[in-house]
Structure formats: C-alpha cells, structure tokens
Amino acid sequence: MELKDKLRILADSAKYDASCSSSGSNRQNKYGMGNTSISGICHSFSSDGRCISLLKILMSNCCIFNCKYCLNRRSNNIQRATFTPEEVCEITLNFYRRNYIEGLFLSSGIIKDADYTMKLLIETISLLRFKYHFNGYIHAKAIPGAKEDLVKKLGSLVDRMSANIELPTKEGLKLLAPNKKEDNVTQIMQYVKEKRNRNFVPAGQSTQMIIGGTNETDLNIMEKSFSLYQNYHLKRVFYSAYIPVNKDRLLPSLVKPPLKRENRLYQADWLLRYYNLKVSDILDEAKPNFNLLIDPKADYALRHLEEYPKEINKVNYYELLKVPGIGVTSAKRIIQSRKVFKLNFDDLKRMGVVMKRAKYFITCDNKFLINKDMLKKEFIEANLVLDNKPIIEENIGKQLSLFG
C-alpha cells in the first residue's frame, strides 16, 4: 500500500480524538531538530475550525476490541493499515522541517494485545528521539492494560501522555465498550501522577470523554471531570461530541453532534479549573443539565443574584471572575491597575471587560452603569440572550422558552 493511502486511512481513524494541544513543555534543541513552545503553537485550522498542531495518526487501525462507538472496531468492515516505525518517523520529520506541525500525536488500535501495541509505540518514538534526535512535541496514547514498565518507558519519551476515560460512568463504559475497564485507565493516570517530573510526561496528562453517546447528564460528566482533576491532577479533560459513525441499537441515532452541549461543558470545565467554582455551584440534581441558551457563568450569576453587584475597586480576584464579561486577563488587569489608580467604567472597557454583559453585575465606586430598577432576573436574562446573536439564530423556529 502506498504511504499516502496509509496516511489517509490512519489519519481518518485518528481524527475523532479532540486533543491537538502542544503546550506545557519546553524541550530545548540541544542538537538535532525541533523544540517545544510552552504555550503551544497551532499550525493550521481544518475546515471544521479545529486547530491542527500535531500530526495526529494511529500506528494501526487494526483492533481486537469492539467498542460500539468506534470506527475501528473489530466488526467494522473497513480498510486496515499499519505504519512501520520508520514510516511514522519519515512523515513526522519531513512535516516538521517544513513547519507543517509542532510534533506528533500517536495513538493506536490494539493489535494482538496491549503490551505488543505499546512496544510498537515505544519503538517508533525511541527512533524519533534517539536515532533522529527529534525534540519536537510528542503526545502518545498509553494503551490501558499494558505492563507498568512499558508505561514507564513510554512516559520517559513523550511530552504528554493520555489515556481516555471515554465515558463518564462505568455503566456507560460497560454498555458501549465492554472490553474496556475504567480501572486500567485510572491505573495509568495514577502512575503518571506519581512519577511526573521534567523528564517524565512534562506536559502532563489529559483524557477524553464522549458526549451524548449514552444518557448521562451534564452533572454526571462534570462530577467525573472534577474527580479526575482532583485525583489525578490532569491537565485537561477533553469533551468530544458524539458523532454516529456506526449503526447500533445501543447508540442514539443523532442527526447532528451535540456541539452546543460540548461547548457548554468546556466553559464549565474552565470554571472548575480557573475560577475555583465547584460542580455544585453550577449544577445540581434539580437542574442536572446546562442551559443551552446561556453560558454556565452567566447562569450561575443569574441564580445567585444576591451575591451581586460586585464593587470593582474592592472585591478580590475570584469575586471579579464571577462577573459575566470579566475573564482571567481582565480580572488580573483590574487587580493590578486599581493599586495604581481608581478605576471607572471607561477604564474597564479599555481593559477588555465586555460591558454589555458585565454592566448588570458590577458597581464602580458604588455607582451603577444602568438604572438600578432594571436589575431584575428576567430582564437581565432576556438581555443576555438577546445580545447573543448566534444563539438566537440557532434557535430560530424553536420556541424560545426563556422563562420556563
């Protein structure tokens, strides 16, 4: 088979993995080729708007498992291919020299068994690192169930390692990926957490969950993410809107992937990681799913109106962050600048605060920007939604049940 055909098959099989991040590592180029950039670099954007940073491919799309949601599952009748280690090196190095990519993201279907597959990944990446002195970014998927010394070896070669949890609950996993065991995945996570240092998975580990393949709620998903961040110090949890590649009576027959929901999960995930919010602040049993019309932070603000307004010249960093329209950058600017001079509404605008959202939730020197009588929940909510054109367009034709 020609190299081009292999590349097509093995990129096609790898594309559903959401992660393409190349950040968190600063490997230097002592001799040889490549280095990494701590903030990561996107090299291109595909027509679905996703960043292309890494050459994202599978070593092989042959697999002994039969996960229901996966294109590569054993029972699918598709074209199969396996790269040789030298072929992966050739493509990686030549793409890298031309500055197409920041590095390699190598994963694989399970050929024969976990250990065999893991050894193949290790052989390939060792070649890149030692024979070709490649210092670019490498993200590898650890194969769950592989022996510990193989996990150790792979981790010492890469910048990031990940193992996918796939589904938020064990029941979901049992239903759709009966060959997979969550314990095998968390074992790898535990190991990486304990061993991580600047020579072992320096950019940390991440994982991915499929959204909308099973009927878990957003609350289930966020609780899972929160516990993963807590227990294994993951850098990122990625959410991947389920795309029906297979027909199966156990799978939902979605017409469109739940992209808005995926977006809400990313926003909420951000709140957990950077805003110090807890899952119970944004979701609970009575309201286990996100409002698709309003982002989780605005939703939080509307449900906790008694905490507002926040006085810009006084409240601390985390309180500032709770204001819709104020992000991490503008909150930091506010904190620093207000030591030097007293801020007014114009200053806020210049610091990047989105005033049309923030104005309902703040005072500056005890002054409101708008008439205080307008600060009613229904009024604010309607305005926040109406100011958000894309949402309106998406929902045209559907009933806007704002106040239900």
Partner: protein
C-alpha cells in the same frame, strides 16, 4: 512650523533620538524615518546623532527588560504613529518606572500595550503558519506576508527550532529576508539574493500534507467561520493547504 524629527533606519537609532529628545525636553510634533516627505507646514529636523551603543543596556537596567520589549514590539508594528507612541511611553516609563505597564489610564500606555500585543500575536500565529518549501539544494525557503514586521521574531524562533538546516524566510512586501547558515541568521535586502522559481522542485511531502489536511477535518462539524477567525484569509496565499481555496 511643526517640527518633525527624523532618524536613520533602525531600532537603535530611533531609541537614541528618543532619549535625546526626552533629555533635552523637546516635544516633537512627530518623529519619522529619514526619507519622510514633509508637508508644507512641517519642518524636518535631522539631528544626525551618533548611535548610542549602550542604549539597550541603559533601558534594560533602568526600566527593565519588559519595557524594552514593549518599545521593540511597537517599533515593529505598522502603526503610523508608532514613534510618537514610543516617545510618550518612554517618557512616562522614566516618570513611573515601577508601575508603567499598569498605567492604563494613560493613553500612550494603552496604545503601546495594544500594539505590543498585536505584534506578539501576529508573530505567534506566523510561527505556525510559515510554510517552508525544500529547494533542490536542500535549503528551506518560506515566503511570508505580515501586517507587522515579524521577520526578526520568526528568525529567532527558527534559529532554535531548525538549528541544523539552512533556511530563508522572505518578507516580500518589505523586501527583506532572513537567511540562516546553521550558526546565525542575517537580515538582508532581498535583491542581494535572487530566488529563481525553477529551483522549486515537486515535493512529495507537500502532497502528503494536503492529504492529511483534507482527511483530518470532520465533516459533521464543518465550521469555516471559525477556521477563518483563527487563520485569517490574508495569510492564505502562503499556506499551501488552503492556498487553492483562496
């Protein structure tokens, strides 16, 4: 008459002039490069200062490396008023050496930080968007088209990254190129080196890259608006995987 002070091309020459103006309490109407064409109401003043070689160290020691970086990035920007912004930023940095970057109540600080960010983010994008072609003699060659003058920032980046390669990055609109000889890079005038098109051979890896690029997109998620927001069309003519579509 409104006095326009001119400087010979180059960051150091400009800093030398700025320092002189500030030290002598001269408030310029404008500051421009020496080939500036003045209007009838303007008077061009060329002080022909000799270059102050220690100026970088001076600024670094007195005001910190961050202030120096901001001045440099503003200098690289294509803003029409960049020299005046630098003048007032420098002036205020001397006045408020410890808090200057926080003084967003001052217009010159806001403008300088905005331009710094603009140049920094364009250079960061281009670190990803530069596409090298392999010439027959194994030299890597890339053309760029940048709104701001990002060439030197890019050269510094690739000097570390592609250490063991010969490469050339060509800013056609500015008629300058960075050439790297495996030791250091040099920024030269582009007429010193003629590139002949026939040196560009057909490249098998370009073809593989196009295949990869096409394959990796998920059609159920197609979103060209987001693609264009992150990768603005103005760069597409030099990005092989999207050039055709332009």
């Amino acid at each position: 008459m409104d006095r326009v002070y001119v400087y010979q091309e180059g960051f150091l020459n400009l800093l030398t002039l700025l320092k002189y103006l500030i030290a002598n309490k001269i408030k310029p109407f404008n500051i421009k490069e020496e080939n500036y064409e003045a209007s009838l109401l303007e008077e061009v003043v060329d002080l022909r200062l000799s270059l102050n070689k220690n100026i970088l160290e001076e600024i670094k020691n007195k005001l910190g490396v961050n202030v120096l970086k901001i001045l440099y990035y503003v200098y690289l920007s294509n803003d029409n008023n960049k020299e005046l912004i630098m003048y007032y930023f420098y002036l205020n940095a001397l006045k408020y050496p410890d808090t200057i970057t926080l003084r967003r109540d001052l217009k010159c600080v806001r403008e300088a930080l905005k331009l710094e960010k603009y140049v920094g983010s364009e250079a960061h994008k281009l670190k990803g968007f530069v596409r090298f072609k392999e010439l027959n003699n194994k030299v890597l060659y890339a053309k760029i088209k940048a709104t701001n003058n990002c060439l030197e920032i890019l050269a510094n980046h690739f000097k570390r990254r592609l250490k063991e390669e010969y490469w050339i990055i060509h800013d056609e609109a500015r008629h300058i190129m960075a050439i790297y000889d495996k030791k250091d890079y040099y920024i030269i005038d582009d007429n010193l080196l003629k590139m002949e098109d026939n040196k560009l051979s057909k490249d098998k890896y370009e073809d593989l890259w196009l295949t990869f690029f096409k394959t990796i997109a998920i059609k159920e998620r197609e979103n060209k608006t987001v693609q264009r927001n992150f990768m603005p069309k103005k760069y597409w003519e030099n990005i092989i995987e999207v050039r055709e579509e332009k």
